[in-house]
Each structure stands twice: as structure tokens, then as C-alpha cells.
Symmetry: C2
């Protein structure tokens, strides 16, 4: 297997993983390409390497920038924009955790907060609803705390929350 084949395999696999995690394939592939590239790349190079349209490349580079995973660079004498990615896998993880927390956990927390405030509990069904809502709220709050400390990079706090979560 030569570099081209290996790169292709890496990028494909990363794309599949991304799509299973709610990150679109093109976005994951662009990130993989930038990860493997020792230098920053232009939109045209991304298009060429990944065989995708300008629109697609542009939109997904923007999305990666929004996620705080990719950065723009200007080179002296060059008109085009160059893109590079964060390569520290732990920083990437923290960044993704922070973003997903904001986008996904927060709405669920909000919903559960509304639920536990309700004054239901007459019927069997209502009792079950309140019970599950409370249990889930407790869990989601702890999980969120763990994620929050993780994205803050506070290891001690993270371990503490994890211990609580596990007990």
C-alpha cells in the first residue's frame, strides 16, 4: 500500500465514522485530508484531492471553522486562502465535546428541566413519567458536567464527576 492508497483509506474510514456521529461525510473527509497534510491547503487542492465541487468544499470548510477545528491562513504573495487543522487529537476531542454539548445536550437538559417541574403524579402513567424524567435529568446533568469539565480541560474535576456518575 502506497501513500495515496493509505491516505484514501484513512479519509474514507474517517468519513464513515463522521457520518455515524452526525458529522457529514465531506466535513470529516476534509478534516482527515488536512490532518494528513504537512502543509495548509487551498480550496482548489481540497476539491482536487477529494473530487468534490467548489460549493461543497467551501461550505464544509466553513463548517469546520465554525466548529473551531480548522483555521484560515494567508500566505504572503498568495491571493488564495490556506486552511489547516488542529492536529492534537485531545484538543480535537475537547473541541468536539464542547460543540456537541452546546448543540445537543443543552436542548435535552432544558426539556428535562421543564418536565421535572410538572405537577403530575395521579395515575400510574404520570408517576412513571415523573420518575423517568427525574432519573434522566440526574444522569444528563452529571454527564453534562463531565463533558463541561472535559472541554474546560479540568482533569481533576472531570475525574470527580466521573466517579459520581459511576457510583
Amino acid at each position: 500500500m502506497d501513500l495515496e492508497q493509505a491516505k484514501y483509506r484513512f479519509i474514507q474510514e474517517w468519513g464513515v465514522l463522521g457520518s455515524q456521529w452526525g458529522i457529514n461525510r465531506a466535513m470529516a473527509q476534509i478534516q482527515a485530508l488536512l490532518l494528513l497534510s504537512p502543509k495548509s491547503l487551498t480550496t482548489d487542492e481540497i476539491m482536487e484531492e477529494l473530487k468534490m465541487s467548489r460549493g461543497n468544499a467551501n461550505m464544509n470548510v466553513r463548517a469546520l471553522i465554525d466548529w473551531g477545528l480548522v483555521f484560515k491562513e494567508y500566505k504572503p504573495g498568495e491571493r488564495k486562502e490556506f486552511f489547516y487543522t488542529e492536529k492534537d487529537v485531545w484538543k480535537i476531542t475537547k473541541q468536539v465535546a464542547a460543540e456537541r454539548r452546546k448543540r445537543e445536550i443543552l436542548p435535552v437538559k432544558q426539556m428535562l428541566n421543564e418536565m421535572v417541574e410538572l405537577d403530575l403524579g395521579k395515575s400510574e402513567e404520570e408517576k412513571e413519567f415523573m420518575k423517568i424524567s427525574k432519573e434522566f435529568k440526574g444522569f444528563v446533568d452529571k454527564m453534562d458536567g463531565a463533558l463541561e469539565s472535559m472541554s474546560r480541560g479540568d482533569k481533576t474535576w472531570f475525574m470527580k464527576v466521573m466517579m459520581k456518575l459511576l457510583s
Copy 2:
């Protein structure tokens, strides 16, 4: 907000969360419905409550059973099958972690194992490829170890692996 509205909101929100995590909406909604129900439900009740077709209900109940999250029950004198779900949120989490690990992490681990075995390293690009592959392999292996101990329910081991991951 009465029970019906609250239930509806809970189920909808759970469906959205599911779809962001690669679990399809119907599957997440069925799980939510069963979570909130104090008794086990038939396919017809699921269809009725969630306004979905028999085919869809059947397929997704099967999928939940495959994931080890839902169980079948036969009631004496009843012809129909009744379904109920695991309600312990921590057990659910472990189960999901175990399944996703099997389905998603394993292929990536395998790919990375192939990559680090390659004998590349002449050009700058090849060096970068090997470097990133090795770093990612290290990270994914540790993450996988954490997940594995989590799904085994081995808290001590989980904390140990997490400590390593964080340092």
C-alpha cells in the same frame, strides 16, 4: 402541560437527539415511549401512539432488540407480543457504548492498525501520515479501552484508563 403533551415533547426531543447520534428517529421514539410506559406495549399500541406504520414499528422494535435495549414478553391468554425496555439509564448507556464500540470503533482500530504497520517515511507527507496514524492509534486504543471497561461495568479500570487518557 398535561401528560399527553409532556410525553409528546419528551418523545420528540429524544427522537431529535437520537438522530444526531446515528440512531434513527423512529427507533429513538419507540424507546422513549417504552421508557415512559409503566406497562409493556404491543406493536399496535406503538403504531397508534407514535402514528407510524406497522412496518416501521416492527423494524425498529427489532432493531432495539438487536441493540439489547428492548425485550419481548408473552402474556398468558394474549396472542400478541408485548415489548418493554431497559429503564436503568446507566445500563442503557453501557449497552449503547458496547454496541457502538463494536459497530464503529472496531473498523477504525483495524484501519489504524494497518496504517501504523506501513513502511512509509521518505517524504514529508509520508512522515506526517505515519505520525498522525500513530497518534490516532494511541488515542483510539485508549478510548476503546475506556469504553470497553465501561461496558464491562469495571469502574476501577475505567477510571484508570481515563486518567491515562487525560494525562
